[in-house]
């Protein structure tokens, strides 16, 4: 059970993972600055922080669902659909930017809610539910938008994408980190957060202690939907337009970064453990690796291979560590 000796051990595990990731980030920075021309230029760092902002959000979105032992394959579809929704509100209905964004977040949350609802009440695993909903949501969006982008956005919205701090930092990264902080607070200090983690760690025991596991599962799916919507909006700000294909077909392109961050960050796939700090650091590291490799002349085509290998390595290491320490948590 999660409560007890292992939870006392947790802060140390989290700290050591965070330290390890930080060291890797610094190491990668040094190596790439030397090996990849232009890596440490202000522009590149700005672009890096901008992409990292997105990857952090994706990682957090997946992390909260994994915390209850589930998966969400539809974050790409939800994110893009929500962004398109906001776009149409701004373009066709001339609504104010803030209203459109809030509406998009509600929309994403609602879609996530539907996912959670089906998972709980049809008693089907979230893998297959979100696989199906990924297709339904993306398909419906394409049909409704006729695959056309939203290109006529208010200048205030477009201006958001041009903000640049100190020449090398994108404020979007700060937004993502702030959201991460909120989630960390929620998980550690609120009943909601504790219930979410308990549901993932051992749903039967949680139910016995009075936790409404079903509700918590729905909650995390809704939360994931909201985070996905924010990610979609962020990408639209960066692009100055809402393009239906901007996360790939069915939103597939977001899946790898969304899984890499939590897994590298020590989140257990069986649920019950989710660390925000390490997930954020892991997302940053993954972005750094991708960015650096792209700058190196051989890098471009090996990036995918490298990312896949990193994921594999991470689960192997985690398996090795848990076997060594005698914990019986599955990866």
């Amino acid at each position: 059970m999660a409560v007890g000796p292992s939870s006392r051990r947790q802060p140390n595990e989290e700290a050591s993972t965070a330290l390890g990731l930080t060291l890797l980030i610094a190491l990668a920075f040094v190596v790439f600055s030397w090996a990849a021309a232009g890596f440490s230029s202000p522009y590149n760092l700005y672009a890096l922080t901008r992409t990292a902002a997105l990857n952090v959000l994706l990682g957090l979105a997946m992390m909260v669902v994994i915390a209850t032992g589930g998966l969400d394959l539809s974050i790409g579809a939800i994110g893009i659909a929500s962004a398109m929704f906001a776009g149409y509100l701004m373009q066709d209905f001339r609504l104010h930017m803030m209203i459109a964004i809030v509406a998009a977040l509600c929309f994403g949350g609602a879609l996530g809610f539907c996912n959670g609802f089906v998972v709980v009440f049809a008693r089907v695993h979230s893998f297959i539910v979100t696989l199906a909903s990924m297709s339904i949501i993306f398909g419906a969006m394409i049909v409704l938008t006729k695959a056309e982008s939203v290109r006529d956005l208010p200048p205030a919205f477009l201006a958001l994408g041009k903000i640049r701090w100190f020449g090398y930092l994108s404020p979007m990264l700060m937004v993502s980190v702030a959201i991460g902080a909120l989630i960390a607070i929620m998980l550690r200090w609120t009943d909601l957060g504790r219930e979410i983690l308990a549901s993932g760690a051992n749903s039967r025991a949680a139910t016995l202690s009075g936790v409404r596991v079903g509700n918590r599962i729905i909650t995390v799916h809704a939360l994931s939907g909201i985070l996905a919507a924010i990610a979609g909006i962020m990408l639209s700000i960066r692009n100055g337009a809402m393009v239906p294909s901007m996360a790939g077909n069915l939103g597939q392109e977001w899946l790898l970064p969304a899984f890499l961050a939590p897994v590298l960050g020590g989140t257990l796939l069986s649920g019950g453990r989710a660390w925000v700090v390490t997930t954020v650091l892991a997302a940053f590291l993954v972005t750094e690796l991708t960015n650096g490799m792209l700058l190196m002349s051989i890098g471009e085509f090996w990036v995918q291979f490298a990312l896949g290998s990193v994921l594999l390595l991470a689960v192997l290491l985690e398996k090795g560590r848990s076997t060594l320490m005698g914990t019986v948590e599955g990866v």
């Binding site: 021309a37 232009g38 590149n44 954020v280």
Partner: protein, 344 residues
């Protein structure tokens, strides 16, 4: 949070290293990046044209780069990465007419002139100008040719490329215009888009021809891959009744023209685009500017279009069109120098 401590150490290291890259930007020799939106046979023609331009015009570096998939995020990432590698002049096919604008703005903001090639950014943009086929004319003319081949009446289907390709919508509208002039004698049954990949083209075009083939009299394709797939399909069913006009110059398409399955094809001047484009952007980088009275065309959603032109190829001029293209490239170069460029 531990994360913020890591950040401050990084920031410190940063300031120490920043100088390294800013110094390099002042490099006077031109480094041109020709950037395609994705893997596609049309754009590979730019590579050799760019090399030719480097040789003829004594340009330091002309590199052709392509992201590993035709996808906006990959395209932007590649452009950002090239900007950081001190390419200081760009010829870019937009991944999306609007969504590529911010990245172009970044590049121009760093002092690198950008010319959008073969496809235009939607105005207003920071690109110096757009050097592309005027599709309001090209697609229109192609449609008119098809209508003539069909004898002035019948039903057409239009197989088109990606919706994020800035040219697609322009082509759809141009064809609609040509068809409207027949006052109902000719109609467009459907515009099927996103066909510029082999699998999608195979599935959709074959399915369409299988089920609706007897219902149509003409096919117009405005993208490379559907042109090849449609030509191959017509050959497979042995159909010479349906008239077809294609786009670009794939070998399979040319063979189909020779054998009579396809009436002709509209060949864009990829060579001229990369060749003259390299010359132009090199000049813009080394201090020249554009004349305010230059004869721009206002088309393809851009107010500053320079038409790279097309050659209509049939069985008659199949062997000579390459030379015609090189000729036209020379003409464009001369015209650019005298009418568009102003050098100190």
């Amino acid at each position: 949070m531990k994360g913020s401590k890591a950040f401050s150490t990084i920031i410190g290291a940063l300031f120490a290293v920043v100088g390294m890259s800013t110094a390099a930007l002042a490099d006077p020799s031109t480094r041109i990046g020709i950037v395609a939106p994705g893997p596609h046979p049309y754009f590979t023609q730019w590579e050799s044209a760019g090399q030719q331009a480097a040789k003829d015009f004594n340009i330091g570096v002309v590199d052709y780069r392509v992201p590993n998939k035709w996808e906006l995020a990959a395209h932007n990432a590649l452009l950002e990465s090239m900007a950081s590698q001190n390419y200081n002049a760009f010829l870019i096919f937009p991944g999306d007419p609007v969504a590529t604008r911010p990245t172009v703005a970044d590049l121009v903001g760093m002092g690198a002139p950008v010319i959008s090639l073969a496809g235009c950014l939607q105005d207003p943009s920071d690109a110096s100008f757009c050097f592309a086929t005027d599709n309001t004319v090209a697609a229109y003319e192609a449609a008119k040719l098809l209508i003539k081949e069909m004898g002035g009446k019948g039903k057409i289907v239009h197989f088109a490329g990606f919706l994020t390709d800035p040219n697609t919508k322009v082509r759809i509208d141009a064809i609609a215009r040509a068809v409207a002039e027949t006052n109902g004698a000719v109609t467009v049954v459907d515009n099927i888009t996103d066909l510029d990949v082999p699998e999608a083209a195979q599935d959709k075009i074959n399915a369409f021809l299988a089920t609706q083939g007897s219902n149509i009299d003409g096919i117009i394709t405005t993208a490379w891959i559907p042109s090849v797939v449609a030509a191959t399909a017509l050959r497979k069913i042995g159909d010479k009744r349906i008239k077809m006009i294609g786009l670009d110059n794939d070998d399979l398409l040319m063979a189909a023209i020779t054998d009579g399955y396809v009436s002709g094809t509209v060949v864009e001047n990829a060579f001229a685009q990369a060749y003259v484009g390299s010359f132009a952007v090199d000049k813009l980088h080394t201090g020249c500017t554009l004349r305010s009275d230059a004869p721009w065309k206002n088309a393809n959603r851009s107010a500053k279009l320079m038409d790279s032109g097309t050659v209509y190829v049939t069985a008659a001029n199949l062997d000579t069109y390459h030379d015609i293209q090189k000729e036209k490239a020379k003409e464009l170069l001369t015209s650019f120098k005298s009418n568009y460029l102003k050098c100190p």
